[in-house]
Symmetry: C3
Subunit: 117 residues, 3 copies
């Protein structure tokens, strides 16, 4: 049996769950940029993801998979402009990007990743 | 090569697939509560998930990740009221919850989880 | 630390990422069938997935999980007619199928899989 380690545990979800040499993150949403545009919100989210990865001794060179939900697919280019600059060259994760309505109307996007330790 | 074990195998999908020390479940949908509300449907689905986990020697303390699709994001609070009470304190999985139209108009939600054995 | 191997690496995403004995593929979309129907597009996508699996020494008997996003849930039956014939009997992956608007209006569906090596 492989140990399970949970970080940022709440009643509803954990921010991330480590099992073996993989970390499963929750869908991360904007925190400090709720009233701002998709560019600001993706920077906000990617910053949070990076911080969480650092806390567990991982980093963005170890991303395995990312799923991006856009509240409006029209944000696609604006999101990618920030995403493309954030991804470490040669270390891009597998990725999915689709449109879905999100839990808060102020969220323009939500991102969930799986990373290696 | 790690063995793959499939449970509830049909032509279209398996209810769950075990690989190594992880189980990947299909998106579970309501079975006995098709004409009922989101509260009843999530209880129905979580019951099915729990039963599947039991069958493979796992349980809800070993959930790694959950994705919840709501047919209408308006079901968010109703779904959470049941979810929050179901999750084992200190063992919440990483989670995503978004809106998507589902395969049957009677489905108010669908849940897919990854669990450790 | 388990090695990470990336195939089809671009600035935005990798076609697939291998970690340990699992491969995480990106969401695959139609390439040569953009102006065609859902049947043609799923054949196109499944062909690409099969080719990618072959390249890494895997195959469709080793699919663990598949997520299918339909641009319109009305494509459900048409998609399944092809899917059911493609899946190797006894080896169906766990599966989710939901509706989401996709990055290109010509995409009728997008499929993402996780496979064992």
């Amino acid at each position: 049996m492989t140990d399970i380690q949970r970080i940022g545990v709440a009643a509803r979800y954990s921010d991330l769950v480590i099992h073996g040499d993989k970390a499963y993150l929750s869908g991360y949403v904007p925190e400090s940029t709720l009233d701002q545009g998709a560019s600001e919100q993706i920077r906000d989210i990617l910053g949070q993801i990076e911080q969480s990865l650092t806390e567990i001794g991982s980093d963005k060179s170890k991303l395995l998979h990312a799923t991006i939900w856009l509240a409006d697919i029209a944000f696609y280019d604006e999101m990618n402009a920030v995403w493309d600059g954030w991804v470490l060259p040669g270390h891009a994760p597998a990725r999915v990007c689709v449109e879905s309505r999100l839990a808060d109307l102020d969220y323009k996007l939500e991102i969930q990743v799986i990373a290696a330790l």
